[in-house]
Amino acid sequence: MTADAAWRGIATEQVDEVTTGLAALLRRRSRLLLADLLRPHRRGVAWIAAAIVVSSLAALAGPWLVGVAIDNGIPPLIHSGDPAPLLRIAAVFAAAVGVQAVTTRMFVTMTGRVGQSVVLELRRRLFRHCLRLPVAFHESYTSGRVISRQTSDIEAISALFEEGLDSLISAALTLLLVGTGMLLLDWPLALVVLGGFVPLTWLTGWFRRESVVAYRRIREANALVIVHFVETFGGIRAVQAFRRERRNDAIFDGLSGDYADASRRASQLIAVYAPGISLVGNVITGVVLFYGGLRVIDGDIRVGVLATFLLYLQRFFDPLQDVAQFYNAFQGAGSALEKISGVLEEEPSVPEPAAPAALPSRGSAAAEPSRGSAAAEPSGGSGVVPRPGASGRQVRFESVRFGYRETTVLPDLDLDIPAGQTVALVGETGAGKTTIARLMARFYDPGEGRVLLDGVDLRDVPDRVLRREVVMITQESFLFGGSVAANIRLGRPGASGDEVIAAATAIGAHDFITALPSGYETGVGKRGGRLSAGQRQLISFARAFIAAPSVLVLDEATALLDIPSERLVQAALRTVLAGRTAVIIAHRLSTVAIADRVLVLRNGRIIEDGPPDRLLGGDGEYAALHTSWAASLA
């Protein structure tokens, strides 16, 4: 059990040689997921199964009826000119063909419907789960892999439903029915046919073992191709400016070569497997011809029986050819499902609280009765909007210790930021400022100690509530492909057009936005590429203003702005966010001027703490910083 636990989630992705035990674990995991996905469609699956059974039965009735016609329909016609038996058989045959057509249509359509619902549900789950997974997961797993799981892998599963499942089931049924039929017709001859199962089973076992490995490799190689692809075109300007094209060509050639090797291997396996099956089938046909012929000559069976047998043989082995083909798709989908189930199994290391705690209501309790109750129920919807003038919340770090992997960044941090205070955090790059900001936004949980919001541990605050209360804006302003207005509205989805404009105006972005070709409705392009970097920062600022959280964390969020624009933003901070708690990380000390309190951070420790004026008067780090900064201005 503990050994199994070590392989939870995505841990198995980097493993080259999967042991049998591990393979069983992966299979079980995928099967559980599949069963879970299919559960709501039990009735649909039952209908599909019924349709397939009927359709296969109807399909099998065909050759049987042909045999009957030869043995019982034609002789009366020849000997007594009586067409009635043959016509009766023909009518039944026509009915069977009709039923087959109807049921085929039914199961193809329904498989599509059920299969696509399953795929849709899987997409939904995976997308949500990926968003729930912590930043730490995304950092190590890379966006390219997350993308490949949700595109290529899902498509491999979708392809199975498109073309695979029905042939698999109908082949199994055909085998069963034809086998029974043969046994009933003439068991000695049937035993000869069934003897073919020995090599078939062996062949299939071999194919399965090998192709599982091959397809695992395919999925992994495919993910790496996507990772590299996404990375290249995410930074195409840098690629071109640094003439990275050749090197990239070489890297991509290697990755897509690995992928081609893996798919070549898979196609070689099927190249052996499929003819192998037909070989077994043909050998058995030869044996049946010989042995059946003998039995007919000996008078043990009639010619019609032999004819039926030969027809059955074709029905018996032809679908196996299809199965070989679709077994391929099945294996592809299987290893895709393995990968996906691994991601789904990853537990968020920053989990939702099991027992959410309510934040105390903000401001005067009478004025804001809804706040507390909204906080108490996480599904409180986006209708609850922070009102302007609401006050901030207190943030406290209690003996917080934190590090990424091995390195400790914050050895032991105690910090109390009273509600409504504006704190400036300064210090050299790498001091840990961003880390503090991330802890406040609960991107990570502290290794030891607690981060409290109004006395409530962040671990007990539901995500929905936390995101309404604490908003962090970073230097990397990421815009989504929609319009300017849509990007601002990300701060508060319900915001009206006027509110969007008001927020943009407050931070001084209104002018440039109206100058854009379609104003607020202008598309910003991929990752906001149609705007300048400073303009992107302004837009992400507007998001924060419209969100109007009780705690605002700004991590070098004005670094790319010119000084007048930064001033405008600061003025807006003072008015729009008056009374709220704010933590501002900035290098330009002009930004710090609006702070009530300055913290100087070095190597993860606070070495100075006080109002800017007082620190300025002293001879500490901040005073030194300020002196050199003032000197730089001259």
Partner: protein, 576 residues
């Protein structure tokens, strides 16, 4: 390969003929001795079929995998060389889905579809031919059923094409949403917008699902008809065949063989459904891929002999001077950069960003470019390494229009550091070495020291630590310093720095500024800066306003004479 396919099909068809011999010959004449060679012949034919099929699949599988790889590599290479504005316009998911899903569709068809098509047509023709030989009028009747099949197929094809293209486009849109959410996950988390993003994703996924279901039901009705037609034909054959037997136009064994053979027609016709569907998918996928291949790179390499002659033996590959410790570039006169009445507007935008830029940088001169957010500073800088081409005027490097210079040469001569530092997934060393692949360790160290990026030596594996998306996460300031080291290590003729110190703290900034001061002394440099502190680097300051260079001059001079510049620097308020 085709020969193998044909031979295998022929062998397969021959087996029912053996059946006829067994029933009509051996059984009818009670000839036991004849059974053995007939049985062996059947087995031999079966083995031959299997062997031929194995060869065919093997060869074909390899060929198809290679084909897919070649197309994918070409697509990737082509995309890398397409102009940056192409990438601004195209959704990333649409590119990705072309390189993955669409290529797989093409591969699937090339792998199975084409051969299936060949085999099923061959089987159909051969079997019909044999049937006609066995009994000509019954054979003709059987052959006739192909007519409605064909008619039906063309109708289906038209409708399926539309759906399959729709699915591909919708999947591309979905991939875009997925990619945005994956790369912007921090923003979604910081703002708590997971739910809205998921709703958007779900809506698009539902669209895909709907189209897929429509596709499935179209396939369902198509396949059922393809089931119906050959089976109905068989029923007809049995009845008509029986009549033929009564009139002694056909032996009983002949009828059985006829029916066995006719049954072989069922599969090729049923397979036709799959073939047409996958062929249609491959066709629309190929169309989508070709849309990219048909786009020509707008920024083409120039070929000027003059430029090469001037550069001396360096030729194409060798950019001018390198080495961080060196003084000026070889010759000392290289790097005169002249913006000759340059104007620029982005495609599809009616207003020019740059209108009439006239700016000359002497070799070795450092010009700091100041301007408000959105003034066009980055745009101007990007014109120099030709990430975009001027729409009016020209940029001249040492008197040669940069459009006439070989592109790799130009980009080697121009070193850049962008506003948002992009590092590649590679070691620190590889990232820094881009501009100067043959730089020594000492030079690397000097560049890292100058950029205040010595922290790189303290990373877990030192300079060999992998950074970038797939490597270790660096803070914004750290990334910016590595990118700066990369730009200065190449010691290019022209250095383009876009706000290179924005993420640095005051102390570090001061140190970097000092180091840059010496490095820039011998290099032509165009530097964007917002902070007064960086102005110290400038030999000359240029103010970009309203798409033109509003003024150039000394920092203090501009402060005194240009109210716009003074406002931008905001000196008085700061010192207050």
């Amino acid at each position: 390969m085709i020969a193998a396919a044909v031979a295998a099909t022929a062998a397969e068809i021959a087996i029912p003929l053996l059946t006829k011999s067994v029933i009509d010959g051996a059984i009818a004449h009670h000839d036991r001795a004849l059974l053995i060679p007939l049985g062996l012949a059947a087995i031999g034919l079966g083995a031959a079929t299997a062997a031929l099929n194995l060869v065919r699949r093997w060869v074909q599988g390899n060929a198809v995998a290679n084909m897919e790889k070649t197309i994918r590599d070409d697509l990737y290479g082509h995309l890398q060389r397409l102009h940056a504005s192409f990438h601004d316009d195209w959704q990333s998911g649409q590119l990705l889905s072309r390189a993955t899903t669409d290529l797989s569709s093409i591969r699937r068809f090339a792998g199975f579809g084409i051969v299936f098509l060949l085999i099923s047509v061959l089987t159909f023709v051969a079997v019909t031919g044999l049937l006609i030989r066995l009994n000509w009028w019954l054979g003709l009747i059987t052959g006739c059923m192909f007519v409605p099949v064909l008619m039906f197929c063309t109708r289906f094809e038209r409708r399926y094409k539309v759906l399959s293209r729709r699915v591909q486009d919708q999947e591309g849109d979905l991939a875009t949403l997925i990619e945005e959410a994956a790369t912007g996950v921090r923003v979604l988390k910081a703002l708590g917008r997971g739910r809205e993003s998921a709703a958007q994703h779900d809506a698009q996924a539902v669209e895909v699902c709907k189209t897929q279901v429509a596709k499935a039901s179209l396939l369902g009705s198509f396949w059922s008809v393809l089931d119906l037609i050959p089976n109905a034909a068989i029923g007809l054959i049995v009845v008509l065949g029986a009549i033929a037997v009564t009139h002694h136009a056909l032996t009983l064994g002949g009828l059985v063989a006829f029916i066995t053979l006719a049954l072989q027609l069922v599969w090729p016709i049923e397979a036709l459904g799959y073939i047409i569907a996958s062929g249609e998918e491959a066709a629309t996928a190929a169309q989508r891929v070709l849309e990219i291949f048909d786009t020509e790179p707008e920024i083409k390499s120039g070929h000027t002999e003059r430029a090469l002659a001037k550069r001396g033996p360096g030729g194409w590959d060798l950019p001018p001077g390198r080495g961080v410790t060196g003084g000026s570039s070889p010759g000392g006169k290289q790097g005169r950069l002249w913006f000759d009445h340059v104007s620029f507007s982005y495609p599809k935008s009616h207003q020019p960003v740059l209108r009439d830029i006239d700016l000359q940088l002497e070799p070795g001169e450092t010009v700091v470019l100041a301007g408000a957010t959105g003034a066009g500073k980055t745009t101007l800088l990007q014109l120099v390494p030709r990430l975009a081409d001027v729409t009016g005027g020209a940029i001249l490097l040492d008197g040669t229009d940069i459009r006439d210079l070989p592109l790799p040469w130009l980009r080697a001569a121009v070193g850049c550091a962008f506003e948002e530092a992009t590092l590649f997934s590679a070691s620190v060393r590889e990232n820094v070495l881009f501009g100067a692949p043959d730089a020594s360790d000492d030079e690397i160290e000097a560049a890292l020291t100058a950029a205040q990026a010595r922290f790189a030596f303290r990373l877990p594996w030192g300079l060999d630590t992998r950074i970038g998306e797939q490597g270790m996460a660096l803070s914004g300031g750290q990334r910016q310093r590595v990118a700066l080291a990369r730009a200065i290590l190449a010691r290019p003729a022209v250095l383009i720095l876009d706000d290179p110190l924005s993420a640095l703290d005051v102390h570090t900034e001061e140190k970097v500024t000092r180091a840059l001061g010496t490095i820039l002394a011998g290099t032509t440099a165009l530097v964007v800066a917002h902070r007064p502190s960086t102005m110290a680097l400038a030999d000359r300051v240029a103010l970009l306003d309203g798409g033109v260079i509003a003024a150039t001059g000394d920092h203090r001079e501009l402060l005194a004479t240009q109210p716009g510049y003074a406002a931008l620097m905001m000196m008085e308020e700061v010192s207050a």
